[in-house]
Symmetry: D3
Subunit: 319 residues, 6 copies
Amino acid sequence: MKKGIHHHQIGDSIELYLLIKNVKKGTASNGKPFLTLQMSDKTGEIDAKLWSVSPEDEATFVSSVIVHVQGEIQDFRGMRQLKIKAIRPTSGMDQVRHGDFLPSAPLSPEEMLERVTQYIFEMSNPKLQRITRHLFKKHQDKFLQSPAATKNHHEYVAGLAYHVVSMLDLAKAMVNLYPSLDQDLLYAGVILHDLGKVRELSGPLVSEYTTEGKLLGHITLMVNEIEEAAKELEIEGEEVLVLQHLVLSHHGKGEWGSPKAPLIKEAEILHMIDNIDAKMNMMDRALERVMPGEFSERIFPMDNRSFYKPTFHAPPIEY
Amino acid sequence: MKKGIHHHQIGDSIELYLLIKNVKKGTASNGKPFLTLQMSDKTGEIDAKLWSVSPEDEATFVSSVIVHVQGEIQDFRGMRQLKIKAIRPTSGMDQVRHGDFLPSAPLSPEEMLERVTQYIFEMSNPKLQRITRHLFKKHQDKFLQSPAATKNHHEYVAGLAYHVVSMLDLAKAMVNLYPSLDQDLLYAGVILHDLGKVRELSGPLVSEYTTEGKLLGHITLMVNEIEEAAKELEIEGEEVLVLQHLVLSHHGKGEWGSPKAPLIKEAEILHMIDNIDAKMNMMDRALERVMPGEFSERIFPMDNRSFYKPTFHAPPIEY
Amino acid sequence: MKKGIHHHQIGDSIELYLLIKNVKKGTASNGKPFLTLQMSDKTGEIDAKLWSVSPEDEATFVSSVIVHVQGEIQDFRGMRQLKIKAIRPTSGMDQVRHGDFLPSAPLSPEEMLERVTQYIFEMSNPKLQRITRHLFKKHQDKFLQSPAATKNHHEYVAGLAYHVVSMLDLAKAMVNLYPSLDQDLLYAGVILHDLGKVRELSGPLVSEYTTEGKLLGHITLMVNEIEEAAKELEIEGEEVLVLQHLVLSHHGKGEWGSPKAPLIKEAEILHMIDNIDAKMNMMDRALERVMPGEFSERIFPMDNRSFYKPTFHAPPIEY
Amino acid sequence: MKKGIHHHQIGDSIELYLLIKNVKKGTASNGKPFLTLQMSDKTGEIDAKLWSVSPEDEATFVSSVIVHVQGEIQDFRGMRQLKIKAIRPTSGMDQVRHGDFLPSAPLSPEEMLERVTQYIFEMSNPKLQRITRHLFKKHQDKFLQSPAATKNHHEYVAGLAYHVVSMLDLAKAMVNLYPSLDQDLLYAGVILHDLGKVRELSGPLVSEYTTEGKLLGHITLMVNEIEEAAKELEIEGEEVLVLQHLVLSHHGKGEWGSPKAPLIKEAEILHMIDNIDAKMNMMDRALERVMPGEFSERIFPMDNRSFYKPTFHAPPIEY
Amino acid sequence: MKKGIHHHQIGDSIELYLLIKNVKKGTASNGKPFLTLQMSDKTGEIDAKLWSVSPEDEATFVSSVIVHVQGEIQDFRGMRQLKIKAIRPTSGMDQVRHGDFLPSAPLSPEEMLERVTQYIFEMSNPKLQRITRHLFKKHQDKFLQSPAATKNHHEYVAGLAYHVVSMLDLAKAMVNLYPSLDQDLLYAGVILHDLGKVRELSGPLVSEYTTEGKLLGHITLMVNEIEEAAKELEIEGEEVLVLQHLVLSHHGKGEWGSPKAPLIKEAEILHMIDNIDAKMNMMDRALERVMPGEFSERIFPMDNRSFYKPTFHAPPIEY
Amino acid sequence: MKKGIHHHQIGDSIELYLLIKNVKKGTASNGKPFLTLQMSDKTGEIDAKLWSVSPEDEATFVSSVIVHVQGEIQDFRGMRQLKIKAIRPTSGMDQVRHGDFLPSAPLSPEEMLERVTQYIFEMSNPKLQRITRHLFKKHQDKFLQSPAATKNHHEYVAGLAYHVVSMLDLAKAMVNLYPSLDQDLLYAGVILHDLGKVRELSGPLVSEYTTEGKLLGHITLMVNEIEEAAKELEIEGEEVLVLQHLVLSHHGKGEWGSPKAPLIKEAEILHMIDNIDAKMNMMDRALERVMPGEFSERIFPMDNRSFYKPTFHAPPIEY
């Protein structure tokens, strides 16, 4: 199989199919319009300028179109940029599909669905189990498509599901090591904590914040839904309140979007597990692009740090 | 009428009825048990020690009991303290009632009810009006009794109602000065913003945080209730979302308990009006106790500042 | 009447008179000099590039010149930019005046002067009244021209006067609602609080900081002037000190430029009124440019927030 | 077996052996000297006052003495305090040993030694393994006795060893879940990260900071030792530098005592594992003392939060 | 000569003359009034309780009275406290004077006056020289008595003068090392920077903040005076403005009380010199009380640090 | 002698030899590659664009090459930029040497070596003296070449040595003014505090951080070396620990890279002397480029302040 865009280095000539994810129009210093195309395949992304475009070009090269491109990878202020030599939109003849260009989770939707279902099945507190199952089923389809965030970590198709499955595995390990933890509460918290993102974000391909996402946020949206679910399922008892607290507090503190800090042990652990899985994902992605002995690019949400890959660690697989 | 406890100074001998608000037991350095009584009447509070108490004393002098006390006001580390010379519980003979000892709002419950009702009546957006009326009626009784906070500002019977009425008057003045403001939205926000406190706090006399108050807080509780109210009243439209945002954001930012900062003009103004009325209340109470040319005691939630009463301002009425 | 620059959208062809507010020279990537013109009329501002300029162009298109322009409004990184097709300086023939191009306060200077004078007239404390009148008269002419700030809020001709008049109206409403406030002190504080800006800023058209503005600032300059005014008017008494404190503390705390936090009730209220009026102005201006259902551009001094205009609010008048 | 001090409640009369951990002398308000005794057994601690002490009492009741006490548990400002009715030092007749009164790790020193040794054995990078083994052996005896901190978490005999063993188990689980992690580096980091505490703290029973602990701290002390160990073992290569970085950065950032933030993936994970294990320990200890439906006492190093034990969780075993 | 109070240790019996600096009345747990006396001589301070006082005692033992005391130095929560055995007020017979009990600067007022005068004489810029001389002469008497602060550093009679003389010496050394510095400006800044304290603080013996000290502060007071002095002396030119800036900015930034940060090189250096001399004074005083190998008591304004005296440094002279 | 690049202003035509310090490649908006050359001589730096470069150009104009350039100085966004008219690499014929183009310290290496040696000679504590001499000799050659930082202050050849010599002179002045200071400890601290930079930074010409510089930093590297030096020289005693503490704490606090704040008087003074000398250097360099009455460019590490040169100060020498 052909190498993806991520595997090419500065100086390479390339000829590839790429998906246009985003287009911005500008005016060059010679006064002519140009387009900045943000393009990607499953392996990564690259930007390119399309100079002196005609109105037809503007109508052709729009978001979601798959194009065939020839060009050369250059350096632009320390970032890779594609210098386009030839570009055309694809047709049925090219036999390419959108699904081939979107990065996605390492597990299939079916597998992830099965694993979450299995975790719900293992819960023994019927109140927590029923609320969790109810809300999970309600949003299951979008859950299996949604990214976990618009950027930073797990920002790909089904990224949210993959993030949750990883966290469930980590939760299971924690429960084994620290038996005082309430397994059911922790599993329920993991499954529901970010489920409000299916309403906060607009969708899998072009993720943007919805109005209710901006004005209330995924945390408040899901706390509301737990309330309603309990009403609908006629469930009473402190489990409802406690589960709402877990979702409410999972960002850890006020500055990070949680109006209440975790005040229950499993809430604190949920916050930490969430953190670990997000950071592992960010560090892995940054480090898999650099050779041993090099520093990665900066990771903004991790205090803008650049991570070092020791010389005694393995190089990336593709090289 | 007799002077209240607030109007006595260090050195005064007093003979008064007082309500016991809180009792703590301790052991004196001679090994004997003593009680610290926190007592109040409508004008203020004072602490007193009851030394070498018997088990009967402990059973007699408990929270909510009205007592008749003789003693002298002394200075204890810069605070007034009552040195008890004689103390006895009251009986029917004394003809005293709890209501006489609780500080309360300057307006009667009936008057405050009428004024809030009038403001609701003036609203012209039917969706905002119906949700506001529905939730206000639901919690009306507790609303007319609840303090606005456990301490700091408006912490007396019906303090919440008085705070809301003052804010409504201020909102009306603001709408007149800045006609671009949406009057209905601002009124609705003012009436509902702290209504969740009837669930967050335990009640008018001994205000403590409830478990749901600690785990979710009055903001989240009311956002949930707006959602339900809209369902129940079959109201749809952005008004529901926007009103939830006003309640959600009225603390201004994450560190202060709002998971979203105000993103709507009326939400920002609601936050500022809330602030002004709370601060006016705190400053007025601190300054009415000092003479011109003096500094007040420190006000903790206002950066622990001590305020100055200029010499050309009037002395407190009671002196 | 013709639509102003603010009322045109991306894609519009325009033909307008505009005032050049600022010019920067640069070198294009082809090595040729170009000018970046910041132009405005009463309704708003727009930037434009003038490519490949000759030395004559550079001498012609300078700050304060009124030009006639033809062009098209384009998008440049999310901001509107004017693509110039033709541009010429105006002459007497064009019958245009500077005053027509500067945004200014909604009230006439005469009206604002009368209103401030009326407020001073209403003061009953003769010491505060005399100092306020003396300093107001001294700087009256510049006061009626000065912007309230170089950017952010009320940054137009007579913006300072309009800001002060609005604050006085708000102060009056506050005094009515909270009768414990000292009306005279509050009015005096409002009128003098920013009066030092007539020395801190260079003037109405091209507002920059003066050297004494940078080294001392408008707060210290006015505190000095109150001292001198009291000397000159032979006024003694705590009013002088208290009024200096109001001006000194009106930014609220050290980080914001006030060496003393407000320690007098009216000083705290002055700070809050100042805040409200500035924020109302910023939010109104940002929101009047967007349609219902949209978010405004970010407002930097309000924590860089972008405000939402609910769908049930009215669209801007011009559309 | 008899209940320990921790299992008694306010109001209980007790008769117990206790170890004096700390003694402070004071003067009562009647002018007589008294002692404040901090006493403990394996289950917990309690304070007591010994009034009107003679010089002989002062010489008898000193730190490290085991005493036999009769008394009653009382409430003192929300804390339990022991009112002493009778107290005497113990002799050989009492058949009590210091070891019976010191709280200690749930695992025996032998078991912990074996488990750390096993983890070292599992390492496959010989450089990391040799340095780790060398330093571990060097400090092994003190390591098996030292607390993990003077207060807050694992502050008991062998608390450091138990903390490290728990972290190793957690590290192993993490390596299984995230195979990109370098197991050897993580294990080495866990074993060495706090080993400098054997020099920073004075010893197991009365832990205080040493002068080198205060002036350099355990982090710098261990980084120095890794350098020396590598020299002594004639080990070269980046492993030495990277291992020093792990120890150096394990507090996460400058404010928390690490001059470098983690810049290697395993360093970041080491920091997070350390955090989790310390917090689990603090929360477990706080919660095991409260009944379901109650809030724990505040945990200072966790932002002074008080944690809630849900009503559907089990009560403490002892009740 | 007899040893001062500072030179006695816990356990010592003492018989001394002491000055009462401050008295607080309290009520003991047996219900009787007692006095807390803060007493001092030139070498230091000590607190004592006077139990069960009569009204005559309260009238006798007041602030500024010199007493003869017998007693024993005891430990109270880590602080030395004097247990009084006998105490009486002094009369003419005792031949003691207030001046003997106040700590004061190491140099005589005459010497300090001469040295400041000499520095003013060395200035060659006549404008700076005349303003400095004018203001120095105006406040010279109080300047030679005032402490530099109410606590923390140089808080003794003439502490301000000693602080200024030390800073002038340091300024001279700096000017020699960095010849680009403007000597005159720096000298003027040093002499005037804290001169406003003669108005901010009430006096040498019982230093408290005056009302104008609290509402405006010594910085603003002196900036005002420089303005007036220039008017009176008919001095114009940027020197006036620049000198005001030096005084205004000498606390370094807003949080520390300077509305403008230093924007002139000499202003920055003035701020640093001020800092160094204050810190040297605080560290010296803390360290001269401890033996080599010990840590000093904590110094609150230096981040509450406790400083170490290395074992190879000399012990305090008195031991 | 010819004027250097620093002495030319916008609009000047120049013909000069310059050293290429850094080269970045980019792609112009016309799609052609261009180079951004960062060039310097002893007096300063300037950037230039080289448009439409050929592969030969790219191979010719690389870092460390000395070129002969003709061009014009233009303004680019407020910065000077060189518009190249002709450029060629130099050959032996041009008789230019690298040393002529690198800014360097005002003192010769020999002189600085002699002065540091003299200060070491003056030390009387043999332990401190031997460790200092040993480490200084070990790194002496690099020390005399290294910059003190990659940017901000003393970032030129031998900048580190010049910074240390200035600090030693300042230390000597301090010791004279405050005789309680330990001269030897302070000298040793000054000489060693930044010596680890010879390992942290890559070298004099193109200073970058080394891997050990990034992962451990110059502070930890030197603390390690002091440990080793003491071992090697068989020196024992608290001097070793105390000297390590001085180096460890010289950045003042955690956020600034010191895991321990200064806890010894000389450590605090070392931190302050370091600060003063760095700031004097930054302010002098910024101010020597502006005329009296102007503000300098912003100095980022000094809170981004812009400093004012008073009108009564002298203009730069070159004008």
